[in-house]
Symmetry: C2
Subunit: 677 residues, 2 copies
């Protein structure tokens, strides 16, 4: 304590320095560049600068911290503790002053750039670095002798107190500025957007006095079928509400190509669809704000990811060119816009960010997947597949990343399958077929009980067995292949060939009876097998094409993205030949990686620059014009594949060598090419 | 011609350099930085790069130009000449190639930064440097192997061909981009805004192929009473149409203070007035576009000047704070906005610029006057007075400029004068009173015939004599003072004191009969004299206060700005003591200097930066809190002044030493202080 310039050591950063006795801890932290939050600028109002002093011997730091190393608990801290409660051991960094050598821990909740922890083990945490932050200031009052606008004095205060650059303000702010400054008696809290590529830094909102609340951002995954939004607290990074709605554009067409057709056939059709998606978006905002119990006016930033057609329709650009070669995007770079330009009911000054598109078929959603899964940072070679109506496929490592899209069609979503349905209670999601008896057992969504177990009847009493969902049909076809009910080329065998009466003649081909309900039998037809063959062949051949281009025959790991990807059994996907041969424990699900990418871009503005750069470096492959794609497609129509060996798969399972082709029946072998959608 | 690198000399710039034989003149000009226009980039389409070669001996340049110094007239030039006609002696700079030493004149019409000549001898010409220019480019077609947006390829073409920076584009442009590129077969003309303090450079509009037209800008003087606009061709600087309308806010109050009061008294009143002025503005745009025969969609830039109250109401900011000390502006700096933010029906991407305000009473209109009259560049000390309901006064020279405003009230506009009226046919505008007979002669607006001349009855047969306009009342009161009808303190004498029966008892004071029409007599009452005294005292004391602050007793010259200023007789203004004593030939009119300032800022974006800088350096004086203002006001209530000597005036005229105060009658001597309006 006799030392006039005690040593101050901050953890976890390890930053240290000597400061005069009496220096507030917040001041020391700022001078050292320690990440210690503050909204009120050290006025003892906001409590964001809470720190935890440590006392005793610290051989690691070479320092002994004695009692009295910080000034006594003061009246400001007492008042705050009485009013809101301060965690035991915590001090306010702006009030506690250095008296002797001290070790100070900055808890995560007091860090501006705290980590937002992602749930998956293999995923990187998100460093919080939001576009918009709160700043409290006291503003000079107007002086007739030195006339300057109230705005100019506010900007000056923000510059002097917070080192903020020359800020701008929208007209909307100017309208509320004067009464707010006076109501707050020249003390105000500002939400400041720190600027992006398109817009300079600007004051978004102003509250009289100290504003105790926070501001929010939205990460939106604008899909062809659903629109899902996550509302995040921009100060903590927490998701405070999530909500989803159906994309109202569905009434113009289930898949993207039918929407492009709608706009081509109907004058004003594109505008209609733009209107629909924006209205849907506003409905989503209402839902999500109401779920969080906040005013949607507090949403100041939003990030959108979507495929190119949705991207154009959302922006009000006719997607005509995306419907035909060379699939030219109107714009491919990221976009920073104002919410009002898109008619979005957020804060009037809210900023909107759309991730860049990779190519005419590989959109901002794929860019978001790349941001979330970061193949460009992977040491091993990773294949990332976002399974949907159109599959986006990324292959790469830290040296190079390739991307393509492949028109899988809607079969993986249960559409165009005779007993197919969306994932919902009552849908078959897991299947096993006994290779000897050829008898199936299955589970339906909503229960863990298998169909041959006790209690299954009770389970289905309420829901019934309504159909087969996307992941169910994959398991079903794979199990049929493993049980020798379907052969490599995709034909279902006759009762004689398979030895089971569950196979029955159904028109010109055979079908397999899964559940023989007299009113609602569930079967798999040979046409269903064809649909799955085409979908999986499209997916595989896209991946295989990227492997060709990369010059490899195998990948180190496979990441399945998309809600659907989360439910796929890796083994069955591999039996089907959807994905390349790989160790099963190296096939993982990333969940809604596009949505996660949107959330990363929302919470960390540096990640926006990062993905823009990454997208520039991703090499795009256009499957439609690659001759080898057709060849891969034909080979991949076989289950699992006509030419690829799949050694790892074959070490796990034995695929019966059956061939049911007797010269008659369906001959096209799944070789019809689906039109891109 | 044997020289492989002939000498090329451009006039009037004098720039010169050697170039290989075969170099197009446009290329040589670009390399030397010669200001030679081109929209098509040398493709022989636009004809903007016309030059005039000179042949023969040029001892001044030390060169002889022989026949054949330029390549022969070619088919492109022939085609252009056949189609549109090329002035004799002119060549297209992009077609004519250097063959030998040559002197090339760049006519003014081929210069981008040409001079726009101002009509007044003492005014500087305007250097054309508009915000928005046209550029023709040929764009790469999309390539599936290298996917990039159409916008990105357009921006690339503009960067490569024209050295333009990375441009941005509004959503509106993105909507038309793809069909326009294809319609133009990848050849398009772009209107590019080169950027300002708030917005980055951006593509405003795109036309298929080569666009033969031009784009326009608007300079708007948004006055309390009238809104006047000048439509300018941004390529030539020419004013192609002018139009004016009454400010629709007049229905909320004639003067500014009554509008501020209206907003205070009526909830939503400010919004109502904002709505009114914006609607009026849009009506003006319709008028002016129709007058010019253009689509208002071609107006891409607009500059507005106005006083602070109009500034706030136009922006949608409640002017409440401007109605009371300390007269705080919401914002004082210049503003760059989009037209759509203000609901203005111009090009959807149109940019709006508002000049900075100098102080709470000294607005963007005063800044525009400063830009037009440039007191900060004057060698001699100039007093610039913008006469209106509120007078803005600037005093300065290149060393220092001071500014203030003074509440003159509406008397100078003929309001609050018993026989006063707006300037219109039938209004008395010029007056002489015989100092012996005290008989008046006058002229009315619309005729050069004096009232005592033959033909006057015919003149007034159609209009009648309807009243006295603002400049008329100034001459009238000054002539009454010169004829000894009014004394220094402002009393009208009795018939006995003045020796004329035209003076007659009119209540408690005397009036002067100007025109004795039984139905509509025109008189000047003592109350009228009082109104004029107050108005002119306010004006003079503001000017005098600035002279005090500047430390001078006289000014070198006086510039009267404003439409009214154009009609004031300098001699009579000085007799009245409105303006300081100065040589009459040094009192000039600048016309609508605020409007001119707006036009300068419109046509030369560099002037915007210049006036922003100038305004920062102008020292503002707030008259309301200066004790000497009251003293000057009292002294200036006398005609011409109770204490100031006016030596130059006294060398020209003799002011009768009369005093009509006999101890009775009106005693306030004009000392009532008008409330600020």
């Amino acid at each position: 304590m006799s030392d006039n310039n005690p040593l101050v050591i901050f953890t976890p950063s390890g930053k240290r320095g000597h400061f005069p006795v009496g220096t507030p801890v917040l001041t020391a932290a700022r001078q050292l560049g320690v990440d210690l939050d503050s909204v009120c600028g050290g006025r003892g109002i906001c409590s964001k600068c809470q720190i935890t002093p440590s006392y005793g011997e610290f051989p690691k730091h070479g320092v002994t911290v004695k009692d009295g190393a910080l000034s006594d608990w003061n009246s400001v801290e007492q008042r705050y503790d009485d009013k809101r409660g301060l965690t035991k051991g915590r001090r306010l960094g702006c009030q506690a002053q250095v008296q002797g050598d001290i070790v100070i821990d900055v808890p995560e909740s007091s860090q501006v750039h705290r980590q937002v922890v992602r749930k998956r083990a293999e995923a990187r945490d998100i460093t919080l670095n939001p576009s918009t932050k709160l700043f409290y200031v006291e503003v000079e009052q107007p002086d007739m002798h030195e006339p300057s606008g109230d705005l100019e004095r506010l900007i000056k205060a923000l510059r002097l107190d917070w080192d903020l650059p020359e800020l701008e303000a929208d007209l909307g702010l100017l309208k509320t500025l004067q009464p707010t400054l006076r109501k707050g008696e020249w003390k105000v809290t500002c939400a400041v957007h720190l600027g992006d590529a398109m817009f300079g830094p600007r004051i978004m909102h102003i509250w009289p006095g100290f504003y105790e609340g926070t501001v929010y951002g939205l990460a939106v995954d604008l899909g062809s079928t659903t629109i899902a939004g996550h509302l995040c607290d921009l100060a903590t990074g927490e998701v405070v509400a999530s909500s989803g709605i159906m994309n109202p554009q569905i009434r113009f067409g289930e898949d993207l190509m039918s929407r492009v057709s709608y706009s081509m056939m109907n004058p004003g059709g594109a505008e209609e669809m733009t209107q629909a998606v924006r209205e849907g978006m506003n409905a989503l905002f209402v839902n999500i704000a109401s779920e969080a119990g906040i005013d949607s006016n507090l949403i100041v930033d939003a990030v959108f990811v979507c495929n190119p057609v949705m991207h154009h329709l959302f922006l009000g650009i006719d997607p005509f060119e995306l419907g035909q070669a060379p699939f030219a995007l109107a714009t491919s770079e990221s976009l920073s816009l104002r919410g009002i330009e898109l008619g979005l009911n957020l804060h009037p000054a809210a900023r909107i960010y759309l991730l860049p598109c990779i190519a005419g078929h590989v959109g901002a959603d794929a860019a978001a997947v790349a941001l979330s899964e970061a193949p460009d940072k992977s040491e091993d070679l990773v294949l990332v597949v976002d399974v949907g109506t159109n599959a986006e496929i990324l292959l790469g490592n830290k040296n190079k990343v390739l991307a393509c899209s492949s028109p899988t069609g809607p079969a993986f979503e249960g559409a165009q399958i005779s007993s197919g349905q969306r994932a919902a209670p009552g849908a078959i999601e897991r299947v096993e077929i006994d290779p000897v008896t050829k008898e199936p057992r299955f589970r339906v969504i909503g229960s863990d009980v298998w169909s041959d177990e006790d209690g299954f009847d009770e389970v289905i009493a309420s829901t019934g067995i309504t159909g087969i969902c996307g992941s169910g049909i994959i398991e079903m076809v794979a199990e049929m292949r493993l049980a020798g009910i379907v052969d490599g080329p995709g034909l279902i065998g006759s009762p004689e060939q398979t030895g089971t009466s569950r196979c029955f003649l159904d028109g010109r081909t055979f079908s397999y009876m899964v559940y023989d309900d007299p009113e609602r039998p569930i079967t798999v037809t040979n046409r269903d097998i064809r649909e799955i063959q085409m979908a999986k062949a499209a997916l595989y051949s896209g991946a295989r094409l990227l492997m060709d281009k990369f010059g490899v025959d195998k990948v180190d790991r496979v990441v399945l993205a998309g809600a659907f990807g989360a439910h796929i059994s890796p083994k069955h996907a591999m039996v089907l030949g959807m994905i390349p041969d790989a160790p099963l424990d190296k096939v993982t699900s990333a969940g809604n990686a596009a949505g996660t990418g949107a959330r990363i871009a929302l919470l960390n503005t540096k990640a926006r620059r990062e993905i823009e750069e990454t997208v520039h470096n991703i090499h795009k492959i256009e499957t439609a014009i690659e001759p080898r794609f057709q060849e891969h497609f034909v080979n991949a129509s076989n289950i699992p594949n006509a030419v690829e060996p799949f050694p790892i798969l074959n070490s796990i399972v034995t695929l019966p060598e059956v061939n049911f082709n007797t010269g008659g029946g369906d001959k096209d072998g799944g070789r019809r090419r689906r039109r891109r959608s």
